[in-house]
Amino acid sequence: MAQRIKFFLINNGPLLTTITIFVLVYFAGGRLYPAMQKPQVFFNLFINTASLLIVSIGMTFVIITKGIDLSVAGMIALTSAASAALLVKGISPVIVMPLMLLMGIAFGIAMGSIIQYLKVEPFIVTLMGLFFARGMAYIITLSSLTIKDPVYRYLALTKVHIPFFEKAYVYIPSLIGPLLLVVVIYLANFTRFGRTVYAIGNNEQSALLMGLPVARTKITVYAFGGFCSALAGIVFSISLLSGYGGYAPGMELDAIASVVIGGTMLTGGVGNVIGTLFGVLINGTIVSILQFNGTLSSWWTRIGVGALTLIFIGIQSLFYMKKKN
């Protein structure tokens, strides 16, 4: 029994650390600024990080395969600009939204195929993807396009009340991330696709020799990443009710940081999306604390997240070394 607990701790160490840190940071915030103790502040985290959570979930899979996807923020900008442009032309959101998701998937498939078949580093391919997507977004529109579509307005402004918490609410788009999370937990743990993702991240050559569908799985992972980016782009344009090529600057790095803080290793094969959720929440909590403080520069968020990421990479190394012994 003691042995099992020990294994459990070693196998899940990074995840447990992430959750602990989230709880500590949140409670520290609550002590400093009692207003943060209100349930709504907690639910605001989901409102504020709606699109970051979605891209980070996609990013988690990519990083588990030992890849990286730098194109996500570009894709968010492109989706927002393209959907705004289409909606302004009077095209129905029923067509626009699936179209955007298909675009994201196609974009992911293209990048994944280049990575897999031309053996180009994911870093390079997705960086080019970032340039391409953001560039295309600016070609569509140089200025911010306002969305006046009633469906978008409905989605953006309808409050969903949280059961058991009086007056606490989120908006409809904030629910997409948590729903996606449930789907992805299932994918990761209960499907051959998910387990193959982990196997590839550990040792691609072995996975190949085990007869697993390596190429298909890797391309699917990037396609899923593209899907998540496009979905995040839709959520982003709903919450701002506009589209613009300059949206979400640097969000790819926030996503990577959240995934790493969540215990996923950049060396591949280790990590899970629950950790990523907490990584994103930690990111959001730091922002909240700074907002409550009101006097500190918002750039402290970046510094805080940077420091945490660094600490986490250190902790991961320690766990990794411990495991090796």
Binding site: T191, R195, Y198, A199, L209, M210, G211, V270, K323
Partner: protein, 504 residues
């Protein structure tokens, strides 16, 4: 002609690579329920034959018959589907996912569209039970030893591929004696179930321990297939080398010559040198013109001792004196300056840079010694590497060959050359002949003795007792991280084995 018991018949297999005829008209057959050793020096064509059989390389000529049917193996996956599975020395599984997944992923049971974990774990347990292994299959594979990982790989090939033929490529090279015996139990069991096993190894002891027949390859040609029981070891070695054991005789002769040297000077002296958790305090000395062998079982502290003397680890007790000067700062760089060089045990991980050329590999240590800013001209580099290529007999078309394309023995020689190029006075060789063939072993042993003849001091660490006996002027035996005894070279092997085992 065709034995009905044969599950595999390979006939007239020929395969050439640019500039090399790797296999020439080789026949190989495997019976149901037999363990068949595939033996030969490095470059004899063993790996190529296996590659042809597992679909990595298509043969130029020849036919493969499985269960009486002609087959063409298109890819490693295809060979698995046909029932031909390979377990490699470096285990091709994923350490981060559970043991159960490693056995069954790709063929896992499903329930309502999702993986049925309960059933998966039960099936995996059953698969391992067949090999008499009882472990927690839900743990990540990486939590288990290499030996267990190897069994898991075997279990996968039996479960997933329902293997009829199992190829074990150097399976025992990283196992200790208990683990090896455990593997052999598994092999015997599989044999009883009618699976044909091809066993590739450098350990002749194990060949005699476990195999029924032996096929010997040499220079890409078939020497012959023999019944293990009726082929004495000396003849087997003769067939592998294609010559009598004159080279081994030469080793002995070289050693005798060295014995007569009287004017030895003490170079290295360790007094009570030890490090907690690594090796207990040890007294030890090494003089010029001398080869001192270190014998001991795996885990007896051989490598730890080398690491202390070379300054990789810092001792916490005792003193180390080199040329009468007491060492105060322990670091490999300091040791290099004192004229000590270490060839590490694991040449792939710690020594060789496969993607660099022979020349670049040889120059590395020399360049480090000169300092990174002093430029060694290309011409000088070629001179140095050409000198050692000739001196050590490294088989290569040019110094610009990438090291990863060389055979194991030649790679080992390149590492030796790297340190020799720095002209060290003391050379620590940790398992210099591991994983290389008998001929190359004899060459390296001879070379070691010649170096001693020239005045160098050599610490020769090896897990092969014969080799230590043949090569060393003095032998230090380690047991349980302690020095158990020291013998002169006329000691008999049995005494050493008893000391190693702790029977006095």
């Amino acid at each position: 002609m065709a034995d009905p018991q044969n599950i595999l018949n390979m006939r007239g297999i020929t395969k050439s690579f640019p500039g090399v005829l790797a296999l020439e008209n080789v026949d190989f057959s495997l019976r149901k329920g037999e363990v068949h050793a595939l033996i030969g020096e490095n470059g004899a064509g063993k790996s190529t034959l296996i590659k042809v059989l597992t679909g990595v390389e298509p043969p130029d000529e020849g036919s493969i018959e499985l269960d009486g049917k002609l087959i063409q193996v298109r890819s490693p996956q295809h060979s698995q589907e046909l029932g031909i599975s390979t377990v490699y020395q470096e285990i091709n599984l994923c350490t981060n996912i559970s043991v159960a997944e490693n056995i069954l992923l790709g063929y896992e049971p499903h329930r309502f569209g999702s993986i049925d974990w309960k059933k998966l774990n039960i099936l995996a347990c059953q698969a391992l039970k067949k090999l008499d292994i009882d472990i927690d299959v839900t743990q990540p594979l990486g939590n288990f030893s290499v030996a267990i990982q190897q069994m898991v790989a075997i279990a996968r090939s039996l479960e997933v591929a329902s293997a009829k033929i199992l190829i074990l490529d150097e399976p025992t090279s990283s196992l200790d004696i208990n683990e090896t015996n455990r593997l052999f139990d598994v092999i015997r069991k599989l044999k009883g179930e009618g699976i044909g096993i091809i066993f590739i190894t450098h350990f002749l002891d194990q060949v005699y321990q476990i195999t029924d027949r032996i096929t010997v390859l040499r220079n890409g040609r078939l020497v012959g297939t023999y019944h293990t029981a009726s082929l004495p070891r000396v003849e087997l070695i003769g067939k592998m080398l294609g010559r009598s054991l004159t080279e081994l005789d030469e080793v002995s002769k070289a050693k005798l010559m060295g014995e007569h040297k009287k004017d030895r000077q003490r170079l290295v002296e360790a007094k009570g040198l030890g490090l907690k958790g690594s090796i207990e305090p040890i007294d030890f000395e090494l003089s010029t013109n001398e080869v001192v062998g270190i014998a001991g079982l795996l885990g007896s502290g051989r490598t730890e001792m080398a690491n202390l003397i070379f300054g990789i680890d810092t001792p916490d007790t005792g003193s180390l004196t080199i040329r009468g000067e007491k060492i105060t700062r322990f670091s490999p760089l300091e040791s290099l300056e004192n004229g000590i060089a270490l060839c590490p045990e694991d040449r792939k991980a710690e020594g060789i840079v496969g993607d660099l050329t022979i020349r670049e590999n040889i120059i590395l240590a020399l360049q480090a010694r000169y300092g990174w800013f002093k430029f060694l001209t290309t011409q000088k580099q070629y001179e140095v590497s050409q000198k050692y290529i000739e001196l050590l007999g490294i088989v290569t078309p040019s110094p610009d060959q990438l090291v990863k394309n060389l055979s194991g023995g030649n790679q080992q020689k390149v590492i030796l050359a790297r340190w020799l190029a720095t002209d060290p006075q003391v050379l620590i060789l940790d398992e210099p002949t591991r994983g290389i063939d008998v001929g190359a072993k004899a060459e390296i042993q001879k070379l070691v003795l010649e170096l001693a003849e020239e005045g160098k001091s050599i610490l020769f660490i090896s897990s092969e007792l014969d080799e230590v006996l043949r090569t060393s002027h003095r032998i230090v035996v380690l047991r349980d991280r302690k020095k158990a005894a020291e013998y002169s070279s006329d000691v008999n092997g049995q005494t050493i084995i008893q000391t190693m085992a702790g029977i006095s």
